[in-house]
Symmetry: C2
Subunit: 318 residues, 2 copies
């Protein structure tokens, strides 16, 4: 039976393996995508998602997350939630509510508390050290305070044909308190329709939401485009449009999968992702924008890249 899953960044790979195991065993798309994201949220060395995520400028780890059920189009989302181990699980719980399914700030945190979700201090010593280092740098240098906006976004397709999408992120490092990116925004950070397919985004949320790119990719797949065509056609013209109209375009990368388990990606930067389906076991690939400006180059990841990544994420904070 056909199944599949795709997720943004190398950090998602262990989650993709877990989701693939669940889907192979007949697991449900929503359960698989939540499990996938939960793995990333819990790993302390991923500095842009969940536990170990980098804080806002005040030192608070504020998280955004969303969940969408491709069968019913039900959505749940949180923005600027704090002290919650698994923001995506809170989002999924909210997706069962017809009203009040998108909650932000203290209201979102309160919902998590009231409903028994695991609460913890999300600021690890390592993330705190990075934050303090950056504060010191900003005090002496004229530099932009932002980097590290690597959202985990994922799509799953189960053997019954159901699909789900989910995202989770701690957002821009050194963001202003209450800043929300594209990750919890329907059509921008994520979208999925089991009769078509799904898409999810990572990158500079402020620019991604100017184009509703995840919705646009799903819409294009619904008109018969392959996931790769839909990604290329939605992303590269929009990057060009932003440069022309807004004067610049942030970094962004999109993943998509249709309801036959076929997939595609598009990106304007070096972008790793993980993908598996019944045709090919989960693997990490690396994508670059094509030199023609409207296609995507995709290659297997190299061991050298993986070794350098492992070293980088665990390097001492100096």
């Amino acid at each position: 039976m056909t199944w599949g899953t795709i997720a943004t960044w190398r950090m998602a790979h262990d989650g993709v393996v877990k989701a693939s195991d669940l889907l192979t065993a007949g697991g449900q798309a929503g359960d698989a995508v939540e499990a996938l994201i939960n793995v990333v949220e819990a790993y302390p060395y991923y500095k842009s998602v969940g536990y170990g995520g980098l804080p806002n400028e005040e030192g608070v780890v504020e998280m955004d997350a969303a969940f969408m059920d491709g069968d019913t189009l039900a959505q749940g989302a949180v923005g600027g939630i704090h002290n919650v181990m698994h923001a995506v699980s809170v989002a999924r719980a909210l997706s069962h509510q017809h009203y009040n399914s998108f909650r932000v700030g203290d209201g979102a945190t309160k919902f998590a508390q009231l409903n028994g979700f695991e609460m913890t201090n999300m600021l690890t010593d390592r993330a705190k050290a990075r934050w303090q280092k950056r504060l010191a740098e900003l005090a002496t240098e004229n530099m932009t305070p932002y980097d590290g906006h690597d959202t985990v976004g994922a799509i799953t397709l189960d053997t019954t044909g159901s699909m789900a999408a989910a995202t989770s992120t701690s957002g821009l490092f050194m963001k202003k308190a209450g800043r929300v990116g594209d990750s919890p925004l329907s059509g921008s950070g994520y979208y999925v329709d089991s009769e078509i397919g799904g898409a999810a985004a990572t990158g500079l949320g402020e620019d991604i939401m100017k184009g509703c790119i995840s919705y646009e990719i799903v819409r294009r797949m619904g008109e018969g485009e392959t996931p790769q065509e839909a990604c290329d056609h939605a992303v590269y013209p929009f990057v060009a449009k932003l440069k022309k109209r807004y004067g610049k375009a942030g970094e962004f990368s999109l993943v998509a999968m249709n309801n036959r388990g076929e997939w595609g990606v598009a990106t304007n930067v070096e972008f790793t992702f993980s993908v598996g389906n019944d045709q090919a076991a989960p693997r990490i690939l690396i994508a670059h924008p094509g030199v023609d400006g409207h296609s995507t180059l995709i290659e297997p990841i190299t061991q050298d890249w993986l070794d350098a990544y492992e070293k980088r994420i665990k390097a001492p904070i100096e």
Copy 2:
């Protein structure tokens, strides 16, 4: 020279008149749409927007608002902001920032304070009385706590061809703390591109965001559909899809205008709106869904309707 403006609900009419005056005098689209929304925000008898807006279940007036510049695609938005007289003006200020342009909760309120926006207690005696009455009703009756989700959403076109969109709302009456609707969400509550046109939504945000309807309407106008065609084609099939897939569909209404000042609306409930352009002075119209399920009936408002409305919004809270 061509200009135009359209906005949701009868309550927007005085703002539409003001925006029309500004646009006729050569005013800029962004200034006009902000002025339009500001009029609605300041009027104490409109119970779903700004001052006089109904509070969340805890008695706090939490507001959502957005602003989009159709020339640059720049967006600013706030969700769950409080104690701020003109949420849309805060959103517009945020639209000038490349990073951190969407802020929620205390972070949004803090930005407003730091930047000199008018702060005030938004809970009027009248709104407080309504809230207390509803609390008492909920304590004795088994009723749904929600009604009153009438967002003001507006589009403007100025004589230079620039367009803007904006929204403002206090959201669902008796909503949970931190609940955010579609109004501050790009593509769901609003979208505008000066090379095409704009659209804005009102209604149950949780369902509007399942379809990214404002983006879809603008996209359809970009493919050559008239605003009315785009509204009909985006809204009615989506209502049917929601009923089939989600089991139900909340109330929603959309307004749209293209960059020639032509306009359209679609709705699944009785829906008033105000529209003006260089061809016809600002006027209030009333729309109903057509009996065929895929078109919109639009008629002039009657004096009887207006009289009953005036009486209703100023009736004593008993």
